[in-house]
């Protein structure tokens, strides 16, 4: 079937290519004419404005928007919707905040325009192995777009089938899910990313413990000098904790097991935050997902103000002076019998 794509970055461009490889026709638009030209040379119909983009699509139109979440997506969908007609559908495949979907979908519905939110996972490898999609929207519209989702999804592949799924929605095993009404697609994708943060942090802490197992502050008989690249590799093979995230870790450590090519500033995108907000709204304790988020916040600061407050209190009650310089790494951990202060605390 025909579909339009707005936003030809890494994700949008690859989605268009995968669709064309499987016989779909596409109309593309990007504010960068080069991106448009490049994919047009692969067979997509080009457009140099939203107006032209809409004109080249046959009704009922289907336009996939694949832009950074937030203001750009908001403005683009607003402008696009004004050019569209009743029965057309706008698909937001980005990382939009699900409550924005709910608001936006409601507003568009009043004007007869359908809205579908798709949480899309698959990154740079998606073009080859397909995209895992979590879809929110009205049933008939999601079904109308099924040829698109079916093509983009990874399919059964060689992943073992889960037993006792007889009678369940067969699309799920193909790698795409109609999660529920508008907003639910991005909601499920958000929790996916929240979990991802937690998984990453669990591995990261474990490797940190392994890495520091030989520090001088430990008793000599309890020190180990471990090869963490080999540990990551062996865990890929028959342990309880293999995963793609572990594969990536093993790969990075095989290249450079000090990781000194990284500084350790870790960004977070919105999903980790929104996941914690959702947990709070639902009164669900989510210690691990939150701790994973906070570890990222902390990674981007030299020191928190909180730490200075602690130093000020300690100075106040015990006259504990803090080191004026970054302390000797060898003294950064003081295990076993620690020299406590005889002071108040």
């Amino acid at each position: 079937m025909q579909i339009g794509m707005i936003g030809l970055g890494r994700m949008g461009g690859n989605i268009v290519r995968r669709l064309m490889q499987h016989g779909h026709t596409t109309v593309v638009y990007d504010k960068d004419p080069k991106a448009v030209a490049e994919i047009a040379s692969d067979g997509a119909a080009d457009s140099d404005s939203l107006e032209q983009f809409v004109k080249k699509l046959g009704p009922p139109r289907a336009a996939w928007v694949m832009l950074p979440a937030g203001k750009i997506t908001e403005a683009t969908i607003e402008a696009l919707s004004k050019l569209m007609e009743r029965g057309d559908v706008i698909i937001d495949g980005g990382n939009t905040f699900w409550q924005d979907d709910v608001r936006r979908g409601k507003k568009l519905k009043e004007r007869g325009i359908h809205y579908i939110d798709v949480g899309t996972s698959g990154g740079v490898w998606g073009i080859e192995r397909g995209y895992c999609m979590m879809i929110g929207g009205d049933k008939p519209v999601v079904e109308r777009l099924d040829p698109i989702f079916k093509t983009l999804a990874p399919g059964l592949g060689d992943i073992p089938r889960t037993e006792e799924r007889e009678g369940r929605d067969p699309r799920v095993e193909q790698g795409y899910l109609h999660a529920g009404p508008v907003g639910s697609g991005h909601f499920v994708k958000m929790v996916h990313n929240g979990i991802e943060y937690g998984l990453m942090q669990a591995y990261a802490e474990g490797f940190d413990i392994l890495k520091n197992a030989g520090i001088a502050a430990l008793p000599a008989e309890h020190r180990f000098d471990l090869d963490i690249a080999d540990i990551a590799e062996v865990w890929r093979r028959g342990s309880v904790i293999p995963s793609w995230l572990l594969d990536l870790t093993a790969s990075a450590l095989a290249r450079n097991d000090t990781l000194d090519n990284y500084s350790g500033f870790v960004e977070d995108s919105g999903e980790g935050r929104w996941t914690v907000n959702a947990a709070i709204d639902e009164a669900v304790p989510a210690e691990v997902l939150t701790a994973a988020l906070f570890a990222r916040f902390r990674s981007r600061k030299e020191h928190t103000f909180a730490e200075k407050i602690l130093s000020a209190m300690r100075d106040g009650f015990g006259g504990h002076k803090e080191p004026q310089q970054h302390p000797d790494p060898a003294r950064q951990s003081t295990p076993g019998i620690v020299k406590p202060k005889a002071g108040r605390s």
Copy 2:
């Protein structure tokens, strides 16, 4: 080669069988004669006492002890070692606390007996797909036992190879690792289990957020009634977070997506605790691994005393009375604009 096995439970028995299937000869002992008889019928040499067990082994002897960690393992190794001779080796394949290994290895070394600790992962599937092993001990002894480890390990299988591992220890890709001196095998296995706790908790919290996405306390337009069995399945296919743990979750949810066949009391074995202790000794922040452990502690209590202290304080400063009964689940979360007390807090 020949090897003895003490402890013929699920793990020990299967290890013996896998070894025999690949041409090794075994001598077995268990305090339960039935367990001995059963595996003897598969070809193992049986023994009805530790003395006989040792006699049936040819020097230099290799005896694998596969018993619950703690007193039983301690006592068995103590008794066994007294029957052994210089140059013999005792392998502890259980979940022993690594500092016990260090102590024990040192003591046995004084008497000329070698000690090897093996963290063994693989569970009930190990007999077929092999065991991931993390090994601590002296190099010549580990190498002497290589035929055993090679047979037990899963081998390359169909797991993709990590790039840029050229020149590294080839055993690792086969699924077994000589981690370092005595104790390091169980240390690495301990951290493996610590990570496992963190990974499990990350998934668990995510599914809890999904499960509660439709509660009445949420604004109607922000409620979703999600099919979490389908979500678990779709995430297995092309997302960032597939893993064996997710496979198990998808499988359990496909059978019964309420999980009301479980009560939610979650045991912990020693490794999760020891991992946190190790983090503390090394002064490594390990929020996620610790939160995962504490969530298990909490799962086994009706209420903590801490919670009663909170209730008592709230009663004290604001006259807040707590519900006398388990509150209405529909009121358990009070999201969005919560009815705050006009009281002091």
Copy 3:
């Protein structure tokens, strides 16, 4: 000066009484005529409708609204504002979400009506010892109301003065603070409550550790049977951690040191949640405040769904069966050498 009070609950009523005791005149309204009559008998001018309430106030009017945050406050202020004139001021002294203040203040400003938000701490003791107030709003309006705030505040009392405060705003030492523009009063109060949650949880966890210091699972030589009522009391006297919250704990434990008069269901009002949301918005790690909030969430559930997910996974990978009943408390903690499973995990 003259001031009106809407909402004659515990807080509103006492505020009116304290104001009258110090020579201010008041007009009061409550939807409950009994509450109005009661305080009218103490000297307040009564009113039986918002219309009458407004009429009895002389311009420029000052009306303090002391109602549960959320819809009631919102609706009342909306109705009240329609009866008021340019230059009048509405004070929200409840526990309103600060972003609601910002929105509301902006809207009222367009109609020439001033808005002041006051985070009010003091509870049932406030009438005697005064209220700590955190105030948001325009400077001239806050200053116009100064006689009210000055009367309500506790004053210097016998609390030692902080050194080096010369030249700073003298109102602060009296116990009231003009924090900044509209919303900032409730923002500061919100963080106050967030901290309160963290402080309470810190004490609660400590007492829980003391309470469980004698459990059978510990080695006999490491068990202590501690008198936690006496410990709470002794810490009030010369330690580092005295506080009013500790006083309340000592008091509750003196009455009943098992606290079996409490079940341990701990409510949370909005402030703890909003504090964590603010931390996330600011990318400030706030582990302790968040953990304190989550502990309350957890206290209100028999089991989380997360815990069932853990049980399902454990069953899946190791065949670990969970206890079918609430486990024997004596076995709930298994310290020291824990009986680990020989199984996979």
Copy 4:
């Protein structure tokens, strides 16, 4: 009565002075002759060796050891005990790990020497206002030393009495507690310090949220530029959260509200670690106390290895490059609608 003091640092010296001011006689020893001479000039009997120290004490001797916990205390008590006789008592008033007390007390008992552990709180102010003491040991010995404890304790002072304590141990209200057998004194003091960490972190996080309430990443209408010195002060007066720790914070902020005289490296002494270890041994969830400890660990590192693992994973799955330099502080938090990556995660 007569008592000996070994270790004349800030704590030991002041304890001796307070005892002498109230009529007790003292014998003192320190490896630093100057410290001995100084306090001898105040009236203490001096000694230049442990031998002389013991000789100057009349049987049954009482010797208080006030040294840094760990090897020095261990060695001193070992040497001292060899010079003492049956019926003498050694008091360890430092911050010793309570399990060391248990071991040491047992060993000394075999030789007829009594051992008392005293967790001592009071710091530099103790000489004036007295010391809060948590005491472990045999009842007759603790009672024999009562004149010493009574003198050192703060007494009732002007701290309000807790109601319903009639019939309870009157020593507690004087500020000293016989907690139980040997080790229990330091155990209780340990938990005191664990709580202290949690309290400090709760305040610290709250002030961090206040401090960052005006960052550019927030929507303009939700930014506040708050005076945190004034906030700390106002909370001392009528709020729910006053405490000595808050007094210290208010004092530090009054002097310098940027706290740029502190770098934010926060040491931890053993008690915070041991408290978490105790929680784990008892299977008591202690999220807040642990998070407070981990925040200190993190404060002493430029980056954790865990953070580099996260960066490596993110690079692997999404090609997310991390900033090469410390990022622009104004960009460190990205609240509200965050620019998410269109990439895989």
